[in-house]
Every structure is written in C-alpha cells, then in structure tokens.
Symmetry: D2
C-alpha cells in the first residue's frame, strides 16, 4: 500500500482498547486504499503484565506504562485515549500540546469544565480531535440522518430514547470502577445517556432545557480487590462500600426546535443486554432504531400509498452506494457487527486528518454532551428544569 503511514499510541487495553485496536487493524483492509495506514505503534496501561499481553494479543509493536512519555514521543501521530473517564483530560491535553491528533473515548470528560479545557487545548494546538461516539457510524443511524436531512420525517415532534442494560442487577456484583463516582464520574448517565444524547444532537439538534431524576437501587456492594478492573473483579465478601453513582438516570428535554425528548439510561432492565432504542416522530414520518438489531432501521412514511403505510424494516446493508460503508464489507443481507462502527469511526478520523477536513463528532460536540449531562444532574438536585 502506498498510503501514508500514521503511528498510533493508545492509552487503555480493556474493552475499548480491544475494539479500537481492531478498528486500526481492519480499516485499511476494507477501506482500501485507505486514506492513511494506521500503525499500531505503542499501547499504554498501568499494569505492565497486562499491557504487555494486550500488546501481543491486539497486535501492537510496543508497550509502555507511562502515558506522559507516550504522548510526547516524536514518532506518534495519533493519540487514542481508550482509558477510563477520569484519565481523559490530562493525557489528551498533553497530547494536543505535543501536536498529536486525538481520538478520545466518550464521554469526553468528567464534567463540562474539563471538557472545555480539552476542547480549548486541541483548538489551540490546531490538531484534529474526535470524541468516540461510535454509534454515529452505524449505517442505520447514518440512514436515519439522511432521512431526516432529506425531509422524509418532516418537522420533528418527538425524540424518545432508552438505553437499557442489566449487567449489574445482582446485588453481589462488585463495586467496580464504573460504579464509583471518582473514577467513572457517573453511572449509566455518562455511559449510556451520553450516547443517546449525542445521537439526539446529530439527529434533532440542540436542547434548550432539561429535567431529570436518578436512582441508585442497590446502595452498597462488595468491595473489589486491588486489580480493580471488571474482568478480574472478585468480591471480598467481608467488606461492603457505598455505590456512588446512579443505577438509572432519566430526563425530559425540550429541543430548541420545539421537539420533546425523553432519555432513559439504566442498568436495571432485566433481559436488556444492550438495548439502545431510539424513536423519532415527525410530521411526515417516523424512525425506530434498536442497537441489538443494528443492521436494521424501521421507517414509516406518509408518502406511501394510504393503504400501504406501515413501519418498514430496512436491512441497511445495500452496496453500490445505497447505504453508507456497507459496500466495504459484504453483499446485501450479510450483516456486520458491533466493532464495525469503530472501524468506520477510525476511517473517518484518518480521512479527516489526511484530507484536513472537519471532524464529526468533534470536541465541541463532546463539550456540549458533558454540558447537558451536567445540567441534568443539576436539575435532579434542584428538582426543577435547568436551561442549557
């Protein structure tokens, strides 16, 4: 391949590290010729044993336990922050200052102020920076966007989103980092609401005010051992400690364009593994998406003959330019999976860097996201509506 090579340095080797690595490896094989060829240069994490194994397993050339070093290396072009939320800010700002392009996992920061600092840093540095809202790159979501932009939905009246999971319902499930405010910032609010909020920004627009509620159903959980990460979580049993993030977060919103929004994120919906369902109702049509069937989009159009109106299930896998990205993969009807959204994201990142074009979602989108998340929590505390 004659494409230019770009060296990647990545912080994080758990779930997000694994899926990002896959994206870097796969992108140039399918988006061929690629805008640039990512080289999996160096992976970084705190625990040497683990990061070394990740290097080998995920296909990186080197590893380090020192992110400060990583973000300043001359041979790194792109800094990928796939680490937990509480180590987004410092490394990203340092990387920006060192002139690296950036891909940072979502939510961008622990709060709006931190996010703003990060956005300022990348702007000042003039580097490309993307926040990892990968669901923007689901072909069905991109089709939804097209339908809205092309006027098939008309004026939007309702945005209705629920992101439901059930992986911590067992009271014996231990107090992992995602359940502690100091490491995670928040619970499903920052983890899941962040996603459906970002999609609302892309699909509907900005919000004018919000009002929410949160709940922690299980107040205390067994303390986790020193290793701390989810995979090796072991309950001590002898010791319990308080859960400091919410188990569910719900809010109502009014959009600037007049639409009404409802958002719900919970980890207490038994039977829902990764049920990110979005419904949009407009004056001319409606759209329904569910991540558990991410290759499909439901679409209702009043332009259909009156006797033949109904929600159609579009298998969003048509090639020939009909559906986005899909002709890079397989023939129609041969579905893609979760990780492909990251491959698309990385393609867009490297294309924007190579062609020096705008990036989406950028850090301003990330700041907006953190801002609304914060305002929702403020509305919970103050028991009233808060303007954005």
């Amino acid at each position: 391949m004659n494409s230019k090579k770009m060296n990647v340095g990545m912080l994080g080797y758990a779930f997000m590290g694994k899926v990002h690595s896959n994206g870097y490896r796969q992108m140039p094989r399918f988006f061929f010729p690629p805008p640039a060829v990512p080289v999996l240069k160096c992976i970084c994490g705190r625990k040497e044993e683990k990061v070394k194994m990740a290097m080998e397993m995920l296909g990186w050339e080197e590893y380090t336990t020192d992110w400060q070093d990583l973000v300043r290396r001359d041979d790194i072009d792109i800094f990928d922050n796939s680490g937990p939320n509480n180590i987004h800010k410092e490394p990203v700002i340092a990387a920006a200052e060192a002139g690296k392009h950036i891909l940072c996992e979502k939510p961008l920061a622990m709060n709006e102020d931190d996010a703003r600092d990060m956005a300022t840093a990348v702007k000042k540095a003039g580097v490309k920076a993307m926040v990892g809202f990968n669901y923007r790159r689901v072909p069905a979501i991109m089709l939804a966007r097209k339908l809205i932009e092309d006027g098939y939905i008309g004026k939007v009246y309702h945005y209705r989103a629920t992101y439901l999971q059930d992986w911590i319902m067992d009271p014996e499930f231990p107090l992992v980092w995602r359940l502690k405010k100091d490491s995670a910032g928040s619970g499903p609010h920052g983890d899941l609401n962040a996603h459906i909020l970002d999609l609302s920004l892309m699909l509907v627009g900005e919000i004018s005010k919000v009002c929410g509620m949160t709940e922690t159903f299980i107040k205390e959980r067994p303390v986790v051992g020193a290793s701390g990460d989810l995979g090796s979580a072991k309950a001590d049993g002898s010791k319990m400690a308080p859960v400091t993030v919410e188990d569910a977060a719900i809010f109502m919103a009014k959009f600037k364009n007049g639409a009404l929004g409802t958002f719900e994120a919970t980890r207490f919906a038994k039977g829902r593994r990764n049920f990110n369902r979005i419904e949009i109702n407009g004056s001319k049509g409606s759209i329904v998406f569910n991540l558990e069937r991410m290759n499909e989009l439901q679409f209702y159009s009043e332009e259909d003959p009156k006797f033949a109106q109904g929600f159609r299930t579009i298998n969003v896998t048509e090639g020939g330019g009909v559906h986005p990205y899909t002709d890079k993969w397989w023939p129609a009807g041969h579905i893609i999976g979760y990780e492909h959204t990251f491959t698309h994201e990385i393609y867009e990142l490297m294309r924007a860097i190579s062609e020096d074009t705008d990036i989406s979602p950028n850090f301003e989108d990330g700041v907006y996201n953190n801002r609304v998340l914060d305002k929702v929590l403020e509305s919970v505390e103050k028991k009233t509506w808060i303007s954005i």
Copy 2:
C-alpha cells in the same frame, strides 16, 4: 331496521356453529343498514340436550334434531351447514333442491365427486351458495389481493404457505372425529391445506400439477367415548385404535402462470397454535401474512426509494375506505379478532343474495379445492406428480 329479514337454519352447534351464529347476530349491528337482517330461526344437531343448550346460548329461536325437516321448512331462506365434513353433501343437496340459499363450511365435501354433485345441485336449483373459506375475508388478505391485482407485486414467482398447529401432539390425545377418515375425510390436509389452497386460488390462480407427501406420526390413539365430540373427549385408556388420517401433509405445486408453490399443513408444530403463514414473491414486490397477527400485512415494494426498501408492517385497520370492512368496526389501530372474518363472510353472503350478484368463494371454487386436495393424495400414493 327496514331491511328485509331472512331466516337462517343451521346444522351444527360446535366451534363452527358458535362462530357462524355470532356472525349472524353481529353483522346487522356493524354493517348497518344491512343488506338483509338474518333471523336465527332454527339450529339443528343430533343430540337434543346439546342443541337445545346451543339454541339458548347462541341466540336461536328454535332447535331440531332432524336436518331433513330443517332444510325443507318453508320459513327457512338460508341453510347454513356448519357440521362435520361427512354431513355436508346430503343436507346441502336437499336444501338446494328445496330452494334454500346455502353457506357450507369448508372443505366443501369429502372428495371431488361429492363436491361436484353439490355444485351441480345448487346450479340446477339456481340458489346462491358460498363455501366457508372465511380467510378470504381477513382485511389483510383482501389488501394482499388488491396489491396483486393492482400490480404492486408484479409477476408472481413463489407462493409459500404453511399452516401449523400443535393441538394433537400429546400421544394421549384421544381419537376424536377429526382423526378418523370416515368422519373427517382427511387430517390437516382437508382442514388446513384446504385454507391455504383456497387463498392460493384467489391470490395466484390455478395449479397445473402437484406432488405431495403425508405422514402419521402417532399411529394409534386412545378411543373416545360415545359422545365423540372434542369438548367432552375422554380417553378410555383400556383401548387404542389406529389414527386413519395424516398428521401432516406437504405438497409442491406448479401454477398455471409459472409460479412455484409449497404447501404444508401439520398438527405437529410445537408452539404454533394457529400459524397460517403465507409469503408471495413477485417480480416487483413481496407479501407476508400470518394469521396469528391477522390485523397485519407485510409488504415489500421495489418502488420504494432504494435506500428505504424493506418489508413494512401494515396495520390493516384504516377506516375511510382505505382498508376493507374496517370502518365498520373501530378506529385505526383497534384490532379485530378471528370471528370478524365470519361476520364479513356472512355480510358478503347476504349482500349477494339481496343484490343477486356473484358469490365468492362459490361452489365451483369448492369443487376445485376438493379436486386439488384429491390429486395431492393421489400423488402421495403414486409417488409422482399428478396433473390437475
């Protein structure tokens, strides 16, 4: 109501008797003003105790145990034969000869010859005669017909129908009349294949040849007590007798217009209560129907924009003339049930009588149905294709 009254005499008081009675009672309330008002004059059955109770429960004025008398009464305008298959022929011919209009349950007869005799009799008598293929009157099926007739499906390539039930899978289920050849004629072949064959006639057209297979999975079953009907079936336990009809009947068909057909009827599909699923694929579109969701029709059209093609689920309940019959019932989205198809059927019967118009499905359709059913069984016996 100023509408003319028409007196009905009905043979049979079990499942079909109950649902026909409901149709006569309900039709003039919803199809108002009705083409004629049916009067539930006299109900007939062999067992006095039971027919008397049915009279009271189902709202008939009188009862009798003598069908010979019933079909010749001067005050009867319509003879409804809701009895078992083996008592269709004689009463229907007698009624026709007495000048009664006729509604006869499906399949019309035990075989083509009998059906032909019946058709000849009604033709000679000049009476209106309908065979009770009620699924022609499901609004979603009528919409399917419209889509085909209006060219939305194009040239039909495939008709794929399975009618699946599971009510006799327990080997202890007794040897009721439906499992005996002398009373039922055949098993799911005449009971269920008859339905999907009739719909294929209406939706696709005539068949040129067939080839089938049948199987009786449970060869012997407990003998039923004297009462004989399903409701009171009690296994003796001390005595077993052979099942003389098939448990499943499958056949392939070529239609005269070149389409390929597959038909399957079984009572051994665990979990399928009344799963009558039909899929039609044509050069321009496809249709899917499932009786368990009888208010819905799935429709795929290649006329949709390329990026928005998919099977849409039409809720076939629109009023204002958009969908057939439905404005007689409730607002859109308020579904109707199984028995409504009989109410529609009875409306069509009485309309045809009142307005002296053609009837559908008529006895010729019934003869055709019996003819194909017979040919399938012949193909099973001869292990080859049989021309229709």
Copy 3:
C-alpha cells in the same frame, strides 16, 4: 336463560356507546350462563335524530334525549355513562342517588374534586360503580398482573409506558370536542395517560411524586360546525380558533415502592395508530405489552436456563383456564379484538353486582387517577416535582 335480567340505561352513542352496546349484547352469549342478562333498555343522547338511529343500529329498546329522566326511571338497574368527560359528574351522581349501579367511562371526571364527589355519592348510595379502564381486562394484561403477583418479575425497578397515536397531526384536522378544554378537560393526558396510569396502579402500585411537561404543537385549528362530533366534523376554513388542550403530555414518576416510572401520551407520533406499549423491568424478569398486538405478552425470566434466556412472545389465547377469559371465545391461536375487553369489563361489572363482590377498577381508583393527572399538570405549571 334463567339468569336474572338487568336493565341498562346508557348515556352516549358515539365510539364508546357503540362498544359498550356490543359488550352488553355479546357478554351473555359467551359468558354463558351469564351472572345476569343485560337488557339494552334505553339509550340517551342530545340529538334525537342520531340517538334514534343509534338505538336501532346498536339494538336498544328505547331512546331518550333527557338523561335526567333516564337516571331516575324505576326500570333501570344499571346506568352506563359513555358520554364525553364533561358530562360524567352530574348524571353519575344523580344515578347513584337514584340507586343505580354504574359504569362510567374514563377518566372518571374532569378533575380530582369532581371525581371525589362522584365517589362519595356512590359510596353513600351503596351502589356498585366501575370506571371504564377496559385495558385491565386485556388477557395479556391480566397475565402480566399474575406474573407480577406470583413473583416472576421480582421487585419492580422500572415502569415505562408510552401511548402513541397520530390522528390529529394534520393541521387541517378540525377543533373537535376532544381538543377543547371545556369539553375534554385535557388532551392525550386524560385520554391516554389515564389508561397507562391506571395500569401502573394495578401492576406496580401508587406513585409518590411526579414531574411533567406538555406541549401543543398546533396552536390553532379550523372551527367545527354545529354538529360538533368527530364523525361529521367539517372545517369551516374561514375561521380558526385556539386548541386549548395539549397535544402531548409526558411525565416522570417515583412509585412508593421505589420503582421509577415514565409516562408519555401523544397524538403526534406519525405511524402509531394505537400504540400503547408498556415495559416493566424487575429484579427477576421483565414484561412488554403493546396494544396493537394485544393478544401477545412478552416475558423474560431469569429462571430460564442461562443459555436460553430471552423475551418470549406468549400468545395469550390458551383455554382450559390457562389464560383469563380466553376459553369463552375461540381455540388457542384464534385471536380476539379490541371490543372484547369491554365485554370482559361488562362481565366483571355484572358479576360484581350479582354476587355483591368488590369491583375493579372502582371509583376510588378513578379518583386516584384524576388526582395524579391533576398533579402532573400542576408540576408542569410549577416546573417542579409535586407529591401525590
């Protein structure tokens, strides 16, 4: 039938009048022998021409235009109020004082105070009184209740209900009575939220506090002619007047048992005809119901083997006492429709009267419903949470 006869007098002849009439006619045919036989004695409405036609069409013996007379007639045992919301109170109180048993459509009243007066009157009079929340009598909903009561769902964490329609989205749709505050009280809040709120009371329990938002998307509509009812609504075109009820009403709730609730009612969800969808998540299982497929209930149970867990779709049509009411109708898999829920309701009403047992939902349930509806509107106005 030897069952006792009970004479019914009904106010209202439109949609609700039609479906109630059907219930009275059908109940004794299917719930046989019935607890009592309703006699459709007298129907009442303001417009003589119309009520006379309704009498004939719906099968009533007499008609009147004077409800004051109707509720005091000696030969009336049950007073059925199927009229608009603003004529619930006075006639119901008068009927109670005259010793009539009562079935009153939902919502019980225009507000909590009126509802309380009505409840007081029926209590004082010692008559049976039911409020017409018919969806309690959907077999799938009754199965949901059983699953919760029998512990299959465990502790309830989430109640998530949306009742979506789309019948007034056209800005040219006229200003019918349902869109005016003085006749309807409210828009989809009292019409649709009332339903899903009542189901939450039955399935989850009482609410401790609420916070809501409402919106009127179309602010003005064409004025309707003098006739006023929906069927004959004609837009003048020359004159517009303000819509005085909301087009959508959304609220969050906390239940007394700790569960979180979300409620949404809208008439602006394009493609949703009568989409009343409820999801309940508990510590052991989940339930999903959708009125457009009202014969089905989805159920997830963690008691299933780990490898076989998933939402199952139960066809709630089993006879033999397995599912409620269904053996009164047809064999398994033969679905029932919207109006059957009223037939069940009327059966329960007449059973409670005949056997002198408690009624459900009773007027206290109706008062509670109006109370919460009012509090939601108060929360909208005050922009904060309101305790119930």
Copy 4:
C-alpha cells in the same frame, strides 16, 4: 505469540477469498492464544493484476497465478480453496497428495463422484480436510444443536428451511459464472440448498429419500464480458445466451429418523437479501433461526409454565461460556457479523490440525451433501422420489 505458525496458501480472491483472508487475520487476535498462528503466505488467482491487488488489500505476503505450483510448495501447510466450484477438485486432490491440510469452500464438488474422489484423496493422504459450511459456526446454530442434543426439542417431526435471495431478479442482470452450469454446477441448489442441507445433517440427521422441482424463470440473459467475475460484469446488450442453471430449487425429504423436511432455495424472492430461515419442530419444543438476524435464536419449550409458553428470542451473545465463541468477542448484546462465522471456522480448522482431532464438517459430510443434491436433481428429472 509462542503459538506455532502455519503457512496458508489460498486459491481465490473474490468474495470467499476476502472473507477467508479476514478469518486468518482475525482468528489469532480474538482466540488468544490461538491453537496456531496462520501466516497469509500466498494467494493465487488467474488474473495477475487482480490477485496482486488482492494480496496487498487482504494482507498476503506473496501471490501467484499458478495453483499447481502453490499446492506443492514446501512452505505451505494449509491449502485453502476459495475458488469457484469447478476448480475445487483438481487443486484439492493435488494439495492432499502434497500433504497439505485443506479448507475447501462448499459445495465440495460439482457432483457426488468428484466429491468422493476428493474425500478418498484426503483420506489416503491422512491430512485434515474441512468443507466450508460456515453456518455450522453461527453461535445461534450451535445453540440450536445443543438444544436438540440435550433433549429440549424432543423427537424431531419437522425441518423446514428456506434460503431466499433476490439478487438476479432483474432480467438485465448478466450471465455471470454462477448462472452457467459448466462453472457453477447448479444455481441456488448448490449454492443455497447446500447450506440448509448441511445444517439438516448436523441438526436432524441423514435423509432417506427426496423429491424436488426446479425452475428457471429467466431463460436468457445478456452475455458477460471477458472479465467474467461478478464485480465487473457488464452486459454486452447485443448478445443473449441461455441460463443453464435453475433460478429456484425446492425439495421434500423424509429423514431416516422419520422427520419430514422441506427445502427451498431461490434467487427470486423480492426483498429477501440473505434470508436463510430454518424452523425445527419437535415433540417437546421448536427452534427458529434466520440468518438476517443471525445473533438471535427463537426457542419454544413445553417445559415452560403453561401460562408462559411462547417463542423466546435468545440474544446469543452471552459470555462466560454460556454461548459458544461469544466471549472471544464483545460483552452480551454487542452483536457479531457475517464474517465472524468464518473466523470461528478457521479456529476450528487450526485447532483440529494442532490437536489432531476430528474435523467438522469433514469431506465425508461434503460427499453426503453432493450426493443428496444430485439425487434431488435426479428426482426432478424422473418426476418421482429417489432414495439416498
């Protein structure tokens, strides 16, 4: 990685070549540590330009246009035949004779005799040989197998499979190699029926007799240019030639264990992109699978409480050993795609080689598959049932 390396030589670079290459690249990243590390040594094809580009794009070290050379190279451990059906036999036999392990795409050969020769060659050579029925490696299919083997389905009565596509319905679609008997052997019969026949072998067992029908709806098509492959197919327009394979192939079957089977493969089902739907009904339960939703399996069990029986939709993505393969990928609810089945297949191949264990599906399974396919065509020709 300390795992042993194994060099792969592959014939074919089109659709199957692309997806096999991906499997070799991805397997060791996710099945870590892998049983052996595949090295993408050399890719082979007729057209130098194209195979060279494929080498680069798909990540191979070398390329060649001479398969005779490839299969005899000392440094090749595994020969992968991803080429068209008519070049399966010779290269595979040569590779076997040269001691290479083999992965050959399905159907194994153009007919049973060729397949038998191939099976004999690999047996004689003592090499491992797998035929590429990748759908055996869909986690949902493996779960189906487990459910059957563990007795959840009971005695199987029905196997009902349809594999529907629609990619050649346009009469202007050109006469590509898949539509010519000399290159493809047959149409959807060998392409699609081969798949659902293989699954029936694994899930139900062997067949005793078959009877089929076939049809070619479009008799002539535009001739393709010299390049010949699908991607660059251009219709000449000036020249038409006969389609020499069937457009649809349907057959009935009786299994040795008494079950009834129906199989249908067509490329003329408008709207069905890759609709491989299988339903199995047994004495205790049922299973439904659809490739377009390949992460799901529907399962009905009579062991559920009577009131809670229904088809459940299992999201077959549970980790922790609950569902096969899935803990190698992502958390529950994060779906995988089409190509993952090949990654699983390649894992199984390399595991069997490394551990010297039996392979599934092996060449005997491939011979059986070709044998039944041949017998079906014989039954079409002879218009009768043919024993296997």
